[in-house]
Symmetry: C2
Subunit: 363 residues, 2 copies
DNA sequence: CAAACTCCCGGAAACGTTTACAGCAAGCAG
DNA sequence: CTGCTTGCTGTAAACGTTTCCGGGAGTTTG
């Protein structure tokens, strides 16, 4: 005698049918009670009881099929290990949670096929919408974004005419802020440690750096420019290569992870920060404040961008007929000890240290 | 004249019915072709063509309702900003991806209701399984884990008789390793900066610290113990409080974020690391290696735990009748500059600098 | 007391797939 | 030529919900 059909699900779990049968009511009534809409006191009692007895738990997939929404929102970023995304995620999460939805994060690892695959999978209705922050954008990818079956908001630069909601910042200008600051502090041999040039932020920051130097009438010494990826180890390695062939008096880094790598390379090479080399990171993440000395950093408003992106997404989920919108968040510079002009300011009074010695390399 | 029913979905998107009608075949044939199973060459052509013309994209929710699986796996952690979870996530992701599934991450923020809510929501079939690393466990919570509708693997300590797949480590012993090392290096006034005592790791590490001191016959000075949460800012604040009232010659921290906070507090207070105060963190994350000096840290095998947890989960998804399993990963200690007895070792061979100097931060 | 209104209930139709089943045509062996 | 196999096809039934709709009972109003 096989199990009764229409009573429990394939794997033996109770369904609304099970509950209804046990309570002696129709599935319609059971469903109503379970959703807290309608039902006489008696019916409510019976259904609640039956549900508790069999340990009923609703199948969200079935419910979603009916309601056409899952209550889930996804965020796809390249590297969850980058604190900038953590900040962005926190901002997004608080907006999303306030709307009664849940946020899921997916790390694409920067592999573009991965990201496209994610779109082609998650977006097939598993989530009500998604926020994507791609660092590389191909035509293919863009196409997938544009005709995604679910609302998508892109955080980052995008072709001007792409019909996709978009929150961006201006990292070109951001790099400019860093250079302005360093030049004002008297630095002239300003180096730049960047991420890959085949990424959107990589190219923007490179352009920003070159433009800023030009603006100040400083000729660019290519030996002062080095490229790795956007992570710590690469930043450190890139800085080591740079230091082996040039003598910067300041370094701008394309993000904070790279800046930390650079700091490590500088200290290991016996350069003092900021006395010998001033250092400015980018993204202004918590990591910058966790360093010693604390790192100056260009804020690209990641939390703000996240918040705005989440709001754009929610409004589009609510009304898909809205025209594509584009928002911009201005960069700003946070000056801290790593690029202070005055003698290194210590967060708290330091004890009289033995007179700092200048390593010969920079003497 | 309303749109034709059974032809397109509620929001106007094409369904398999649309494609079938357009191709002039039944939905069964259309579905078969779309899934690449069966179909005459002629049918295949017509269906493919029709699908392309209308831009058909299958509704994953409907498919999942039918197949009873989504191909998604979730990881729920307290704080995605903690690099230990990033490492764990990477390990899990590689196993999960190899099985053709996708990993989604959810940050619970340690709010236990949040985590229970997640279980009660995601687990209601949105995902095929989930890995949870709770830092607080109530009976309620445990109950939700035990009779979750989808397979769950817990990373972390759990009541011995809990019928849940479980990967754990022994952080008590882990703290012991740190203390042993410091004692062997001649340190005696060993302080401890912990996370909240109402968390599972918090209590375990506290117990481990006390047991280790006792084992070495060192009387515990309560002024050398301080508590915050598991993040950087709290770690720094806790260390500042501790330093204001006691004079440790070594500090053990309950994780690397706290250790970074402690390092910052120590340097700001003018203490040299490791000369005045030796420092040992825990979790052995990338962050420990990013500091200067690099931090010694107790590895709790987070990547390994992640890997094992993912494997447990996949095997349980494949066969839910397996008995609950429990695996253990042993801790180990990575000794680095922050607790080195010998003169500060520089992390990487510095460029052949004339007479290596001790970088000023630690001078 | 009849009519109108409220409330609650159950049947049945969705939501968009996959798939068991049966029918049918064509190919082949006897 | 008959009977069997093979390969496609379409019909319809699932998957587990929610919800529209019509009917029946009870209550209020004129």
């Amino acid at each position: 005698m096989g199990r009764k059909r229409l009573q429990e699900s394939a794997d033996g779990r109770p369904t609304v049918h099970t509950v209804a049968a046990r309570a002696g009511v129709s599935i319609a009534s059971a469903s109503r009670v379970l959703n807290g809409v309608g039902g006489s006191p008696e019916t409510i009692r019976k259904v609640r009881e039956a549900a508790a007895e069999v340990g009923y738990v609703p199948n969200a997939i079935a419910r979603s099929l009916q309601s056409q929404r899952t209550g889930l929102v996804a965020l796809a970023v390249e590297d969850i290990g980058n604190p900038v995304y953590v900040e962005m995620m926190r901002a997004i999460e608080s907006v999303v949670a306030a709307s009664g939805r849940q946020l899921l994060v997916h790390a694409t690892g920067g592999r573009i096929d991965n990201e496209t695959a994610l779109l082609r999978r998650l977006a097939h209705r598993y989530v009500d919408g998604m926020i994507v922050s791609p660092i590389r954008v191909t035509d293919d990818h863009l196409a997938a974004l544009v005709d995604s079956p679910v609302p998508v908001v892109v955080v980052g630069q995008l072709a001007a005419d792409a019909p996709v909601d978009n929150v961006r910042t201006d990292s070109r200008t951001g790099v400019g802020l860093a250079v302005d600051h360093l030049v004002a502090a008297g630095r002239r041999r300003i180096g730049f440690v960047n991420g890959p040039l085949d990424t959107v932020p990589g190219t923007a920051r490179d352009a920003g750096f070159r433009a800023a130097l030009t603006r100040h009438g400083i000729a660019l010494d290519e030996r002062l420019v080095e490229v790795g990826d956007f992570r710590y180890a690469a930043g450190r390695a890139a800085t080591e290569r740079l230091l082996a062939r040039a003598h910067p008096d300041a370094l701008v880094c394309a993000n904070d992870l790279i800046a930390v790598g650079a700091l490590h390379a500088l200290l290991a090479a016996g350069r003092r920060v900021p006395d010998d080399v001033a250092l400015v990171g980018m993204d202004d993440t918590e990591l910058a404040r966790m360093m010693f000395p604390q790192l100056s950093s260009v804020s690209l408003g990641s939390a703000e961008r996240g918040r705005r992106a989440a709001e754009l997404l929610l409004s589009r989920i609510a009304d898909s007929s809205l025209p594509p919108r584009r928002e911009q968040v201005a960069p700003s510079l946070a000056v801290r000890a790593s690029s202070a002009t005055a003698p290194l300011t210590v967060p708290a009074p330091a004890p009289p240290a033995p007179a700092p010695r200048t390593p010969e390399v920079t003497a």
